[in-house]
Symmetry: D2
Amino acid sequence: MKKIAMLGSGFIARFYADSLQGYRNKDKITSIYSRSEDSVKKFANDYNVSHSTCNMEESIAHDDVDIVCVALPNFLHEEAVMLCCKHKKAVMITKPLGRNSAEAKRMLEAVEQAGIFNGYLEDLVYAPKFLKAFESVKNGALGRILWAKSRETHPGPHSEWFWNIEQAGGGCMLDLGCHCIEITRSYIGKDIKPVEVMCWADTQVKPIDAEDHAIALIKYENGSIAQFEVSWTFRGGLDLRDEVMGTEGTIWVNNFLRTGFEMFTTGKAAEYVSEKAESNSGWLFPVGDELNELGYNHMFMDMLDSLENNVPPKETFYDGYVVNSVIDAAYRSAKSKLWEPVTLDIWRGQEGVGKSTEPDEYDADHYLIKEEVTHYGAKKVILKNKTSGKIVEKTL
Amino acid sequence: MKKIAMLGSGFIARFYADSLQGYRNKDKITSIYSRSEDSVKKFANDYNVSHSTCNMEESIAHDDVDIVCVALPNFLHEEAVMLCCKHKKAVMITKPLGRNSAEAKRMLEAVEQAGIFNGYLEDLVYAPKFLKAFESVKNGALGRILWAKSRETHPGPHSEWFWNIEQAGGGCMLDLGCHCIEITRSYIGKDIKPVEVMCWADTQVKPIDAEDHAIALIKYENGSIAQFEVSWTFRGGLDLRDEVMGTEGTIWVNNFLRTGFEMFTTGKAAEYVSEKAESNSGWLFPVGDELNELGYNHMFMDMLDSLENNVPPKETFYDGYVVNSVIDAAYRSAKSKLWEPVTLDIWRGQEGVGKSTEPDEYDADHYLIKEEVTHYGAKKVILKNKTSGKIVEKTL
Amino acid sequence: MKKIAMLGSGFIARFYADSLQGYRNKDKITSIYSRSEDSVKKFANDYNVSHSTCNMEESIAHDDVDIVCVALPNFLHEEAVMLCCKHKKAVMITKPLGRNSAEAKRMLEAVEQAGIFNGYLEDLVYAPKFLKAFESVKNGALGRILWAKSRETHPGPHSEWFWNIEQAGGGCMLDLGCHCIEITRSYIGKDIKPVEVMCWADTQVKPIDAEDHAIALIKYENGSIAQFEVSWTFRGGLDLRDEVMGTEGTIWVNNFLRTGFEMFTTGKAAEYVSEKAESNSGWLFPVGDELNELGYNHMFMDMLDSLENNVPPKETFYDGYVVNSVIDAAYRSAKSKLWEPVTLDIWRGQEGVGKSTEPDEYDADHYLIKEEVTHYGAKKVILKNKTSGKIVEKTL
Amino acid sequence: MKKIAMLGSGFIARFYADSLQGYRNKDKITSIYSRSEDSVKKFANDYNVSHSTCNMEESIAHDDVDIVCVALPNFLHEEAVMLCCKHKKAVMITKPLGRNSAEAKRMLEAVEQAGIFNGYLEDLVYAPKFLKAFESVKNGALGRILWAKSRETHPGPHSEWFWNIEQAGGGCMLDLGCHCIEITRSYIGKDIKPVEVMCWADTQVKPIDAEDHAIALIKYENGSIAQFEVSWTFRGGLDLRDEVMGTEGTIWVNNFLRTGFEMFTTGKAAEYVSEKAESNSGWLFPVGDELNELGYNHMFMDMLDSLENNVPPKETFYDGYVVNSVIDAAYRSAKSKLWEPVTLDIWRGQEGVGKSTEPDEYDADHYLIKEEVTHYGAKKVILKNKTSGKIVEKTL
């Protein structure tokens, strides 16, 4: 059983609390901090939290707290983390870790120097579909991974601070891209180095300073390509899809808008249907169990089990730092219009991994380009002569 | 925190244990009973259970047990339940409750006389999609419910006793129909009486005495119709779909084969992909989190929360009894080829609910039959004169 | 090149005309008949038809007409067909053939006696997906067919006469069931005799005399089961789905509401989106090419090619008669609540086809019930001893 | 009725012929040219073509030919087109027009100078789903278009020449990207100028000189972004999907792998199922009517109707030239790693279209950033002060 201090009482803090105290869980939120007195009271009441405060340090330092869960706006992350270091409290933090790589690096170095447990709450690499897909990829079901794409788009976040570039540190790329980067990085291999990024970003619709739409390609040292598509201007709900291409297979995951649950209603009932749904009539696509589908349950299980077992969780501040570094490169690229290198002062994966080149052999003299059954039933192969390079077709 | 005796160590007992001891759950299986010594040892080891025995009564009576979870073949249900009554132990039991209504009734009367907590483990009315769909239905999003269909078909169960009509009590209709009946009954209203059943059942493929394919219609007192389609001969995996039609809307739920997770693999990896999947190459449709998708987590939460709060769970032995009574009528109908009445000696819902008849009024003189926008942009209505009965078309 | 007289100028006549004169088609509607002068003029103008009349016989008898296309309300079918016989004109007729089996039989006998080409315009067995699915079934991809279901439901037809039981001859069962019966009959085998029908039908919503919702099971001589689900009370659009189960496979066809075309719109544009769509905002599911998706193009190709080649088309008045006979049995069953025999005075398929019984053999002593890979990777078989009947499990 | 000379007798020529002579079409292939004598004979026989030859000019110049259909490998396009110019024969040509922009430009200038009808056979902008989606976009259902993505990936083309960079002119980007470019350009507006391209391309799997995987972003003058994803290394079949995002809506089109037709088979039948399907057992996703779904029927209807009516078709050599120019920029970008300008010596659309900037107004003092219903039922708006730029949240 673990006792948790929750920092923050907004949308995401409530999602976290629903998960942490969900099912028959043994864990308990024992302290709640928020900047607003009203909000802190409401949260304490709703989640039955014994200690509540508008003083962040008081919550962190509280005796009855094993681990601090940072669910604050981005611009308050560093302050919260530094206080955890000061009080040697285990910490897990919502995404993104920092507003930029420098901030993330300071937090990473601080928690490691303090020797405290640190978890990075990237929920989408704990989504049940991801976990199962990842296992298949790891087991080789897709062969060598060529490309991994993650898309997260919706009509925009819920709280005002997201739209303020100072407080948020960026726009949809920071808010949503961090998910996509870690998802695709996981499929490609977290020990493979991301080397450069090409990014397009624009403010196409919203009257804000940050970007509301961005697309990027991330090149990894082994030649694999990651891609993200993020937007705050998408119409139709929360679109959360991943795709992976390997030499032996394909994965398509739809986490939200098409999960086998479809409802048509003329609109007689008008309650909350699903996160970021845009309507409550017509065809609707609710999600059965948002907390589980979005990975919260499996994420906190890993975090708290790891804390108990004294091992690092699957996602640590180090991962958050890598993600922030990729995002930084993306922002640079959106401005420079160049492929920008990913700067990683701290890198703990493999170095110098080359591009895989192993064409399929057909026979001693030929590589196999393609084998197929044609329209007319015949089986044929397209071959390349190893020495002459000549390409020939052969009907078998 | 609750301590559980698990009776049975097969496929379903393991699914239950994975759920009961999953996530950060506080509950614990403290005793395991199985008929086979090998199996009991393996289970105790896998799930870290302190007490194990091949004597059913010993497990039930064990001091360190708050509630007994019956995960045994159908023909052992009554024996287990009677022992729980004898030792005044709370009990929750896998579906179906009995092999027939008479058995179910004896168990229902026994637990109520003994005054013990009794839960009926119909997991699919706890499936997250069901829970959300049900809430929408309850809130009126679909208007008056006209029809609810549930389909569960797959290539056949895992253990030999299912295929033995004596031990199982029936075929796919008892095994799978029990789910479908409770799902559709819930949508229509658990207080609405099922009055008669028409069923077709046949042994089309398997060399067994019981039916391997069955379809039935269940008429409720308010004129609503439930339908189930069950089979052990379906090819392609586990097909688990529900559909609901109401005057104001429609719900389609796919719990298993199409949940937004699609994988193609040439077959380089050959591990277990998903319950009852038939292949491990080509296009596969795994489920992210089977335990959650199938309702186990929410079911046990309701069971153990209810036990703690001293209230009956959502599904009790009474529900199991109603389901068995509907199944009995279905078996009679399959033989007699008649609509057979559902015999319910015990009925705790509404009585004498008439069929709803409230045609939409268009104006003082007309009922509205239909309103539509035609191919050519015009809006028109089809009306029925209240007195003459004449049907007319009017372009607006 | 064929010259066509179109009888009728309503919704379906226009669909037919769009198809007959679509693409680069060589055929031409040369005469149009309708009861309404306005309507006949508009049609003649829209489709560039040289001869138009409010006298049915005049259109049929017109010199410049090779074939008559009957697109009239059900109660006018017999009159039209008899005039075609009188003038020895080839005829193709919309579905259903008659309002009942007796009417259908009179028409069948008349066209055969007159020796004229006769086609039954059951478009859905010409739908491209059906054609391809049917070919797979015929080639054995699904093994022995166990069950075929067809569902057609929508919020109700477009013209007033459908809602008038005298003019239509029935309700949704006649209007939509005729499609479903011919689809499922085709999958099971058009030479296999439908023997009995169990049907539930009710008027659940609309203020009409006919049924607005019906479900039926049709038993074939070989033990296969067909099922139809039809309704005029469905909300959400036009639901047109078929399912087939065989010993070796499964087919799921969705002809309309989910065909890989999804659109979300806030509703800025409000044009006609798709047949029987209920809305023009929110998530919409248009169909790319309704005429083609619904089978019209392939149907008329078969009709007119057959006429040219002097062979009967795939669907003739005989098929229409069989369908009407099944519907008659369904209506009788809905009233009597019994399985009602299908009365077929005229039957041209096989007689006395028995139920297939060929259990899979495992070895000399055992039948195979099931083979599977378990949760834990082991391969096991469930067998039945041929002589003792005992069922055993064997892990390999 | 039009008489067609078909140049080429391979895969695509046969698809074209099936469409041109399909349904009840009045048109006829009257001459067939192919380099191989065997192939020309087989084609003439299969499609009942009266004149066949291995001399290209002979076919083009043939008296009985109204229009020439070029279905030859890319490296033979220019020769064929020049001969059509010489003989003043109307011409329609398969995609891409040229191997590069220079070749395309020469052909465009030649046909215009010769004054002959010229059609560019970009079938996918004639696919029925595209046509309907495009109409909705044109009618404003999606508002202002922000982004259009088209993806075409499969396991590689059928004929050897595709894999030969000399003969093909490029890899998957030329072969498949040409489709994607014209699709997305159509959604954004064919009169809007594509200005620059960023492209990643690599040879990840196949032993060839050209790229087998490429992704590109194309920026249009109005700030809209097009994206293509193309590959010859995709596993799982032919993946053909488009997505469009607008300020008011979203479109998702799946042209091939998920069109509402799903089949599971254990593999007892082993015929051709669908273009580029990789298997004939397990779950398969055939297409009902490939010719129609892929746009061939509507494309040839437009081509031949336009020829008859003496108007240009929807897609002309000019469009082919624009597409080739975008591809050229993509190839340059893949090498230079820079955003490369699209060079268009010939441009017939709008010039100097600026980026649209029209933030939604909330009231006199504020822009609306977002309006939503929260988790807890409240309606709130997020606003930006027009003068101070301050972002505030307001619960209504």
